[in-house]
């Protein structure tokens, strides 16, 4: 209920902010929030999707290894998304599945299915700053992005690749986040994120994410099909290649519980 109210309230605030945009003397914080709320609004209502995800991990010598997984996501009306990730490759993690319920305010709920033991294990989600399956992506980079998880500050406009962008600073609300701040580049036409800089707790630039190959689904929702994350400290990088996006699968909450986790293939 509180989530619901806060969502309503933030919409209301956003409405207030966006309407008199030109003449208001809004602060950078208000403007940053308004951009985040608008980006969220444009991505609301997709319902569900599934996709195949190829993860390519490269070390600084250019050696690479691959992982394959499938992702299913169900949007929640008043809370963060529910997601199920099923691992297909490499062989020793094949059949392992990961279920997460992201929350706007609370810490996320996470379960892991271990196929060798047929065991569903609830795990602590305080590992959000830790790497996801040995990649340069942290758990928090991949979990659903909710407006409430950050405070915002609009920095400037910037043009590159023939697009006009808003540049916004995001400060994580959760002290368990591995980042002091993130800088995001959002295009002004469609509110898509093209680039993110991640600054560690000591405010040094740690990683840069570049998103490309955006395609539109259901005439509204944009999905970037290539995410390139470079770790400046280690020289390692991870590329995510999203394929076979399907929206409108008719997923229900019952497809995202401990039982469905244990039988996911």
């Amino acid at each position: 209920m509180i989530n619901y109210l806060s969502k309503r309230l933030s919409w209301f605030v956003a409405g207030l902010l966006l309407a008199p945009l030109a003449l208001s003397a809004e602060t950078p914080e208000e403007r940053g929030l308004a951009i985040a709320v608008e980006a969220d609004r444009r991505d609301t209502g997709f319902g569900d999707f599934k996709a195949a995800l190829k993860m390519v991990l490269r070390n600084k010598h250019g050696q690479q290894t691959e992982r394959n997984m499938r992702v299913r996501t169900l949007e929640q009306a008043d809370d963060g998304d529910k997601s199920l990730i099923i691992f297909d490759n490499p062989g020793d993690v094949k059949g392992t599945a990961f279920l997460s319920f992201t929350h706007k305010q609370d810490t996320d709920d996470q379960w892991l299915y271990l196929p060798a033991l047929k065991r569903v294990k609830r795990i602590a989600s305080s590992n959000k700053s830790g790497p996801f399956v040995g990649s340069e992506f942290a758990f928090e980079d991949l979990s659903s992005q909710e407006v409430e998880k950050y405070t915002y500050k609009y920095l400037r406009d910037e043009n590159f690749d023939e697009r006009e962008h808003f540049v916004v600073e995001l400060d994580p609300v959760d002290p368990k986040s591995g980042y002091k701040r993130q800088i995001i580049w959002v295009d002004q036409a469609e509110y898509r994120v093209w680039k993110v800089e991640f600054y560690d707790r000591r405010d040094a630039l740690l990683k840069t994410l570049t998103v490309s190959d955006y395609r539109q689904y259901l005439d509204q929702y944009w999905r970037g099909h290539r995410w390139q994350m470079i770790n400046h400290r280690t020289g390692k990088s991870t590329e995510l290649v999203w394929e076979d996006y399907v929206f409108g699968n008719g997923f229900a909450d019952s497809d995202f519980n401990r039982n469905s986790l244990a039988k996911a293939r």
Partner: protein, 387 residues
């Protein structure tokens, strides 16, 4: 008969279009640094295991057939050379229910150092001392999915005996275990039994309550003419599982009350788990586990964790090869016996894995069941190829 069944299954499996095969082939070497107690027992030992896995889903995933045969050849122990159907079942899903028919493996429990409430499947003890390998259990399982939790009903029509190491093997008692078991139930292994379990989660808490009635999976041993006779008695076991997450901390508890031929007894295992994320500003996580094990059963049962403290460290490197190391020590607070275990895993390439395992017995008291294993410390290296 099994040959025919296997052949028919194979033919059918190969003919189905959307079907999927995978599996693993494992080669293992065990080194025992100490001379055995009994000169008939082997020294270094090799073993090979093969476990293909087949499944086929149809009707948009509403129905599934799954088949996981398992076969092992062991150099030194004819009892460990064995085969099993780990799984052979058909599943039908309904709107808020599931029906399973066939042999399955079902896990109950939350703790790390001991699996106390896990009662559905018989332990495949010749595979590993850790009791995590199980024999496929024939069952009819009905799962009801409700807002107030999940309820599982199990009808278990057939009992499977625990396998024990043979005369020439290490990791066994002083006297061989007889092939013929003694049952309290008149119908012996065909005595039908059952179980029910409710499980749910509320916020950061997970809870489950279960009850099992049937032939207990753990035998007591009575001396026979030349060997030990395993006695399998009827058992009522009521179990409780609790887990709570508080930030980086996990609290876990498993407890059982057992009622059987020798009266009633209580056992519990519980403790905490704490994970430090990104130790020494690296990507690695360090997990700490501390658990206490209690069991008030008397002879002729010999619970290992009767009044023991188990402490463990899990180092997860979060590297590309998913390297991790788990080290564990269990100390009997009455008798002072110590049991140590180290396990390490590392991926090799895209389809291989290397596993190192060590088990150590120290200061083992004569009244402890581990006494018979006091010279059976071992180091195991296993290579697994996944396909």
């Amino acid at each position: 008969m099994y040959c025919w069944l296997t052949a028919v299954l194979l033919l059918w499996a190969c003919s189905v279009g959307a079907a999927e095969w995978s599996g693993e082939l494992a080669v293992e070497a065990r080194l025992f640094p100490y001379d055995p107690l009994d000169s008939r027992q082997h020294g270094a030992n090799g073993s090979v295991a093969f476990e293909p896995e087949f499944f086929h889903d149809w009707q948009d995933g509403q129905q599934r057939f799954a088949w996981t045969p398992f076969i092992r050849w062991d150099q030194g122990d004819k009892e460990r050379t064995h085969w099993d159907f780990r799984e052979l079942y058909w599943r039908k899903s309904f709107a808020s229910a599931e029906l399973y028919l066939g042999a399955r493996k079902v896990f109950w429990g939350v703790t790390e150092s001991l699996h106390l409430v896990d009662v559905i499947n018989q332990t495949d003890l010749v595979e590993n001392l850790d009791t995590e390998d199980k024999l496929g259990q024939p069952m009819v399982q009905l799962t009801l999915l409700r807002d107030w939790g999940t309820v599982d009903f199990y009808l278990l029509p057939y009992f499977r005996e625990r396998a024990f190491a043979g005369t020439k093997a290490r990791l066994r008692g002083p006297v061989a275990v007889a092939d013929k078991a003694v049952y309290e139930a008149d119908a012996e292994e065909w005595s039908p039994h059952g179980a029910v379990r409710w499980s749910h989660y509320i916020g950061d808490a997970d809870i489950a309550v279960g009850h099992f009635y049937g032939t207990g999976r753990e035998p007591r041993f009575l001396p026979g003419p030349e060997d030990l006779l395993p006695h399998y008695d009827l058992l009522h076991q009521t179990s409780l599982e609790l887990q709570y997450i508080w930030g980086d901390w996990l609290g876990k508890l498993e407890a059982v009350r057992r009622d059987g031929i020798d009266g009633s007894s209580l056992a519990a295992v519980g403790g905490v788990e704490f994970t430090q994320v990104g130790i020494l500003s690296s990507a690695a996580d360090l997990g700490w586990v501390g658990e206490y094990q209690y069991d008030n059963r008397d002879a002729p049962f010999f619970p290992v964790g009767d009044n023991d403290i188990a402490a463990g460290l899990r180092l997860t490197f979060n590297d590309v090869q998913d390297t991790d190391i788990l080290a564990f020590v269990a100390i009997d607070t009455d008798k002072g016996s110590r049991f140590g275990s180290v396990e390490g895993n590392r991926r090799l390439g895209q389809s291989g894995e290397l596993r190192l395992e060590g088990r150590f017995f120290a200061e083992v008291d004569g009244a402890d069941p581990l006494f018979f294993l006091r010279r059976d410390d071992y180091l195991q290296l296993e290579f697994i190829h996944y396909f």
